[in-house]
């Protein structure tokens, strides 16, 4: 159940990013409460992925602030964001090609390593090296436990990933690679999950499966920020929908409100694409 009140998990105020003369993200405000699923939609080039980059630390905003649970996190590095429970997937899918499925997902759990990664300043890295080489029982136990967890996560995907657990990611189908990405994100045990077009390039069956997974995650209480083009999916899953165009937020509200908002329709049509119409045809098929 989504919490009411001012205790937002994620809070953006006036977030702005410019590239030379172009303002990619223009003064975005956003509040995401714990357990919410908010979708961000908009025509291509609206600044959605850039927004994700700003939130996850991959890029630094020129103005505005990012708050997690009330604490300022503006401009922090992606590593720090990950350590604070933010996990994301990427628009074109970024798995570690030469790593196996198991290894890919284990990387997701990196920030949770404790036994082998002491937080001691200065000599921390050297201790880490020593522990990795020596492998005392605590380290091996931690690794074993994580591996079990990974198998549990992969089980969510039925027979898609488990039988391929030791295969290198580059040898997987596109859809499987995107699933690995999600598995990796889950391994981080995030408190906030950012999904960037998780169904891009997937066929209807795969899309439905993915939709089911996202719904499952939401039901388990995960807070999710979702970028999607497939409006049907957006409507079914979201508590709220935000529409961006040319860096600005042009609408926000429940799915149906936003869909029929004149400004939104114009933004899509005006760019020469009728994404919503195309999607409507697709889901009808």
């Amino acid at each position: 159940m989504a919490e009411q009140g001012n205790t937002s998990l994620l809070s953006l105020r006036g977030l702005t990013r410019r590239f030379g003369g172009l303002t990619a993200v223009d003064g975005i405000d956003l509040d995401l409460a714990k357990g919410d699923l908010v979708s961000i939609i908009g025509p291509n080039g609206a600044g959605k992925t850039t927004l994700f980059n700003l939130v996850t630390g991959l890029d630094r905003p020129d103005a505005g602030e990012v708050r997690l649970d009330g604490q300022a996190f503006t401009g922090y590095s992606p590593e720090k964001m990950a350590a604070n429970g933010i996990a994301r997937t990427f628009q074109l899918g970024r798995v570690f090609g030469n790593l196996s499925v198991m290894e890919n997902v284990l990387i997701g759990a990196h920030t949770r390593l404790r036994a082998v990664k002491p937080a001691t300043p200065l000599i921390g890295p050297l201790l880490e090296l020593g522990l990795a080489l020596w492998r005392p029982a605590s380290v091996t136990a931690e690794e074993e436990q994580l591996r079990e967890e990974v198998k549990g996560i992969l089980a969510r995907f039925g027979e898609r990933l488990l039988p391929r657990i030791d295969q290198p990611a580059y040898s997987l189908s596109y859809a499987n690679r995107r699933r690995v990405e999600i598995a990796r994100a889950l391994a981080l045990k995030p408190r906030l999950l950012l999904l960037d077009e998780p169904t891009a390039g997937m066929n209807p069956t795969e899309t439905t499966e993915m939709q089911g997974l996202v719904a499952e995650l939401k039901a388990e209480g995960m807070t999710i920020l979702l970028i999607e083009h497939k409006l049907d999916m957006v409507m079914r899953l979201s508590d709220r929908v935000i529409v961006m165009d040319e860096g600005k937020k042009i609408a926000e509200g429940a799915g149906e409100e936003v869909r029929n908002d004149a400004k939104v329709i114009e933004a899509y049509l005006g760019h020469g694409l009728s994404q919503s119409a195309a999607d409507a045809q697709e889901t009808a098929a």
Partner: protein, 607 residues
């Protein structure tokens, strides 16, 4: 003081000379995002074609220029068509290595055809001098300047205002989009290569005339300085390359003025590192561009490593361990000793270049740090040799990592350039820091290898010592690879953006890789020092670094067994084929090219 005017003029004249090479490099980088390490070889070819034209065919200057430009352009076209185009869809590391291989092959062909003796290349221009400051310049200076400026201007106009020029720029920005827009990308690449090669060859000829001397060692020198000038000016930026060259000339000139000649090259490389660290787009790059869309796809070839079953490894281990007990000649043992020592370097480099993806071209510097530390500790402080070698390893790990750390923030080819420069700087520091390293005289009388007080005198004992050390390092490395650190290294290599997004600190893990690898390299250098009893700044040089990289590619990036196999192959095979010694480097170049083209993941596969 009028001397400052002289230094300034000298710097500009020198920069003028560098500019010709730099512009060619800038062109190629601009279009294919490739640092053409073979540019110096084309330069060399141009110089020798010029010699043939001037001295043997006795053509007038204008004809010579045309001939050189045409032949060089042809060479460039051949390189592009057969050496680089097949690699278009290959992994990004492939063209980098291919140009290195091509440079070996071209250099050797010239050397074998013409002999390595330097020869004079008369300039055919009247010998009048014009007074400038207290020095003089001649018609050749003016010719070089004119050619440099004209070419830069022509290219500028061509790229900005002609249709083919737009095609070139479009391809540079986004090859796929350009292709979709109907640009014949292949023709564009060819055109650019042809022009850049013509420029390169011409500059070789002009510089040869300028100094009245050409020889086969010109090639690497030209490439290095050209790359520095180009990166400083802004890679891919033709006017920037000219400006960068002039700046480089001035920096070298003033460096000599203030500190003396022996520090000269150090300034060039320090300038490079400073630019790479603080202004990686170059000093004269145009206004801030949008950061490029993070490239998906890996830098390294996707591959399944060849699985060597444990029992096979066991048998091999036992066989090599027992070898000295068989009636084997010391020559074979010595060759294998060399192979084991090299294997330690290869292990180090395969970890750094293969596992974590930092393709370091200056790795021999880590050998040098280890070697000098061990030699000096055992000589000056009577530290027992085994301990001093270990100290050499630690020093290499610590100091090496510290010195290489400026390259951590760089990506792709820039890492290679930065590490190359850092390696050269370390070599120059060793040359000049006489109070510690004895400067050019080197360190002699280094005590022989010894263990627990026993001197290792027989070849067999040295063999067992180096074999054992190598095996221990290999096992440690395999353990590292099997741990979360190995996994983290490989993740960073495959996709550093995604790696960061999941909490992997790039600096931390790159540092760890260099610490571990530095230790192995330092130990290797230390053992070599005690084996050779004499080392100086030339013992561990850039050619070693590049050879080590070839071995690592041969074996498979990141592949421990591959590094060892590659070392035995590239150290052992040339000994078996000593008859073909003249062709050794030529063969290395061809091997590299074939590998890159047909099996970039190496014999045993990338891990």
């Amino acid at each position: 003081m009028s001397s400052w005017l002289d230094y300034t003029i000298n710097g500009l004249i020198l920069g003028n000379v560098y500019a010709l090479v730099a512009v060619g490099l800038a062109l190629i980088f601009g279009v294919s995002r490739l640092i053409n390490f073979a540019q110096g070889s084309i330069y060399l070819v141009g110089a020798y074609i010029g010699w043939v034209a001037v001295v043997q065919l006795r053509t007038p200057l204008f004809v010579t220029i045309v001939v050189v430009a045409l032949v060089s352009a042809l060479v460039g076209l051949i390189i592009e068509r057969f050496g680089l185009r097949p690699l278009q869809n290959s992994v990004r590391i492939a063209p980098l290595l291919a140009t290195i291989g091509i440079s070996f092959v071209l250099d050797q062909i010239v050397m074998l055809t013409f002999s390595p003796n330097p020869r004079a290349l008369p300039s055919q221009l009247p010998d009048i001098r014009f007074q400038i400051g207290t020095g003089t310049i001649g018609p050749l200076d003016i010719l070089i300047a004119c050619i440099g400026i004209t070419t830069a201007l022509l290219l500028f106009v061509f790229l900005r205002y002609s249709k083919l020029g737009w095609a070139v720029r479009a391809t540079a920005q986004d090859r796929d989009a350009a292709m979709q827009m109907g640009v014949d990308v292949n023709r564009v690449n060819q055109t650019v290569f042809g022009i850049a090669a013509a420029l390169g060859g011409l500059s070789g000829m002009l510089v040869g005339m300028y100094y009245n001397q050409i020889d086969t060692a010109m090639s690497l020198h030209a490439t290095l300085k050209g790359v520095v000038a180009e990166v400083v000016g802004g890679a891919g930026n033709v006017p920037g390359a000219v400006a960068g060259s002039l700046l480089l000339g001035l920096v070298e000139s003033y460096g000599v003025a203030i500190f003396g000649t022996s520090y000269r090259n150090m300034f060039a490389f320090i300038l490079l590192i400073l630019v790479l660290v603080f202004r990686p787009n170059g000093l004269f790059a145009s206004a801030k561009q949008a950061p490029p869309e993070p490239l998906t796809g890996t830098f390294i070839a996707p591959s399944r490593p060849v699985h060597i079953p444990r029992w096979a490894l066991g048998i091999a281990f036992v066989a090599f361990a027992l070898l000295p007990l068989l009636p084997v000649s010391n020559y074979v043992l010595q060759t294998l000793i060399n192979a084991w020592i090299f294997a330690m370097l290869a292990l180090s480099l395969t970890l750094v270049a293969g596992t974590i993806g930092q393709v370091s071209l200056g790795h021999a510097a880590l050998l040098a740090i280890g070697a000098y530390t061990s030699a000096l500790l055992s000589l000056d402080f009577s530290v027992p040799v085994s301990m001093s070698i270990v100290c050499g390893g630690f020093m290499s790990a610590a100091l090496g990592t510290l010195l290489i750390s400026p390259s951590f923030r760089l990506r792709g080819h820039y890492v290679s350039i930065a590490t190359l420069a850092i390696g050269e700087i370390i070599s120059l520091v060793i040359l000049n820091w006489e109070t510690v390293t004895r400067g050019p005289i080197g360190v002699s009388g280094i005590p022989p290898l010894s263990l627990f007080g026993y001197e290792l005198v027989s070849t067999a004992s040295i063999y067992w010592f180096s074999f054992a050390v190598m095996v221990v390092l290999a096992l440690l490395q395999m353990r590292l690879l099997g741990s979360h650190i190995g996994r983290s290294f490989r993740a960073i290599r495959d996709d550093d953006v995604a790696a960061r997004a999941y909490g992997l600190s790039l600096n931390r893990y790159k540092a760890l890789a260099f610490i571990f690898g530095g230790f192995a390299a330092g130990v290797s250098g230390g053992i070599a020092a005690h084996l050779y009893s004499y080392i100086n700044h030339e013992t561990f040089n850039t050619q070693q670094s590049i050879l080590a990289l070839t071995i690592v590619i041969l074996g498979g990036l990141g592949n421990v067994a591959g590094a060892i196999v590659g070392s035995v192959a590239l150290v052992g095979l040339p000994e078996i084929f000593r008859i073909a010694a003249e062709y050794r480097i030529l063969i290395y170049g061809i091997v590299l090219l074939l590998l890159v083209r047909f099996r970039p993941q190496g014999l045993l596969g990338t891990i």
